[in-house]
Symmetry: C2
Subunit: 353 residues, 2 copies
């Protein structure tokens, strides 16, 4: 059957001061539609029923993960004892799911991305699930790029993949985040899509691939899961201690042969920074506000406050965020660098990081 | 004897969100040296003893006026029933003081200006007090301009005034806030000083001048003061109701003949806006901060917070102020327009204005 695994292990420090050590990005309401993780789950309902929706998250985030509020069974929340990047997270979910449903096909998705065209999203993941089921191959979702972004990885399309399910391509190669000149070249070529981080696979094919490329992860997870629920948390903690920290892209996808890519025009945005949130919600040149905000003579600003008034006068291309006991002000173009600033906050005001 | 009257009737909405309807600029600690009004009083001590320091303020500001904290006798705080600009305020103080000390000479000074060179300030007001006592003339302090400001009134120096006290000039004329071209002409001519708002006079000369130029103010104040302390507040309220709202500059100084100006190189700044506060405290291009602030790659910013952290990244020429339940962000160059924005705050969030 079809399952979906929501990977909720990230931290998203670039959304400080709304994101904090104790409140990761996926638990923020960035777009006004509720916490990102719930939006992500709700968006999947029409394709995957709640009892087959799974979350992999860090133990520290347990307080934010109410099964009732998220609308999924308690047992579908898998808590990692520590963060080891995405390969162990996907491996854990795949092992747990295939133990109960050996023929499972899984959509793995980040918990904190935005998708504007939900109908198109449903159509493309239905296609992807069929494709993965029929071929046993990994299927990635590629986003046709709209500008030469240097913030995303790219996937180069090879030849069209023949078969009943149309529109898929062989992956020619994965490319890391490029510099601007390379990104421009990619865009001009028409052969590159952004790597969305969403991908689909059949659990049997995944297990085989995991054993080949990351045998130590495969063995550790297999042992932890094999023993059943009694003592599971302890065994899992032991398994995680032994495993490398490695991403699914680097650990498996970039090494695997025969991977497919489905171009997906779904209004996708990774909401990586305040700037991308502004781009997702606003029009070029427009202002986006949340909470009690007064703007006078402003252009292209993102202004948010959870409490109290924020008044902005005569500013352009600026981000102003007040949350709790902290305020951030920066140019939109410096949104990436908020991460580095949080390191400074952590040093000087640890309780506010 | 020598007296000083501190005029504390202003509101200073341009310092929102630190200034509020309920907390005027002169009660803020803008420079880090304590409330401006106390700094103003303390600065006068070496020349005028506390028992001869007076305050004229609005009745609404009484909660901020603790005689103990200000270090002056309770009776030296004169509360106006309503604001009628500076002419009635000075007239009230002059009448009360001269009733007790008919030969008094008075320095009138705003409560909310900054003076960097206090020794030079003491020297020039000693000179001014002598000059006013000996000549019976109004003596204004003129500030040699450092740039073609369009935010100040100007005083044109005429011929040097002869006599024992050297360095004074006849006033040729008072000029209103000029446009930039005129301000540049003023600066080039070398004959113009900024009007500091500080001036000195002998009470007998003042009474005579007041009767000539503003007879209705003179009569109203005289009647209110003549009846003694019993029922004074009620009589004063009645007097204020009848009086026009008029400044001492427009009502008297600009009409009076024979006024003198003493150029005063005292590091004066009227602290009219956040920008002028930045100019007073910082170096060109430097940042000025108060409270828990983190700056990264910033230049020429003024960042203040009374509570909680304000983190500013990659900003230039920007003012960020958090106070209580409000945050302001604006370019330094728009500091004047904060006043207009407060009107909007008053409409939409009256409790925060």
């Amino acid at each position: 059957m079809n399952h979906a695994v929501v990977l909720a292990g990230g931290s998203g420090t670039r959304f400080w001061p709304e994101s904090r050590t104790s409140r990761s990005k996926q638990f923020l309401d960035l777009t006004g539609g509720g916490p990102m993780i719930r939006e992500t789950l709700d968006r999947l309902h029409p394709v995957v029923p709640p009892e087959r929706l799974w979350i992999v998250a860090g133990r520290k985030d347990a307080p934010h993960l109410s099964p009732a509020a998220l609308g999924i069974p308690k047992g579908n929340i898998l808590l990692e004892p520590e963060g080891k990047n995405t390969a162990p997270a996907v491996a854990l979910a795949a092992a747990v799911i295939s133990a109960a449903d050996p023929g499972a096909v899984i959509l793995a998705t980040p918990a904190d991305h935005a998708i504007a065209d939900v109908r198109a999203f449903h159509a493309v993941i239905r296609k992807g699930l069929s494709l993965a089921r029929e071929t046993g191959r990994f299927v990635t979702l590629g986003i046709p790029p709209t500008h030469p972004s240097t913030g995303y990885g790219y996937i180069e399309r090879g030849v069209p993949f023949p078969g009943k399910v149309t529109g898929a391509y062989q992956v020619a190669r994965f490319a890391e985040k490029p510099d601007l000149a390379t990104a421009r070249k990619f865009l001009r070529s028409g052969r590159f899509d952004w790597n969305s981080g969403l991908f689909l696979f059949r659990t049997d094919a995944f297990a085989e691939s995991l054993a080949r490329h990351l045998p130590e992860v495969e063995a550790a997870i297999r042992e932890a899961v094999r023993g059943g629920t009694k003592g599971f948390a302890r065994r899992l903690a032991e398994a995680y201690r032994r495993m490398p920290s490695i991403s699914i892209d680097y650990g498996i996808l970039e090494k695997e042969k025969g991977i497919l890519v489905l171009p997906a025009r779904i209004g996708w945005n990774d909401l990586g920074t305040w700037r991308s949130l502004h781009e997702f919600l606003g029009e070029e040149g427009g202002n986006v506000t949340f909470g009690d905000v007064i703007l006078t003579d402003c252009r292209n600003t993102l202004v948010r406050t959870d409490k109290g008034l924020v008044a902005v006068l005569g500013m352009e291309d600026t981000v102003v965020v007040r949350c709790g006991n902290a305020v951030l002000v920066c140019p939109r173009s410096r949104s990436e660098d908020v991460k580095g600033m949080v390191a400074e906050v952590r040093k000087r005001f640890p309780s506010l990081a």
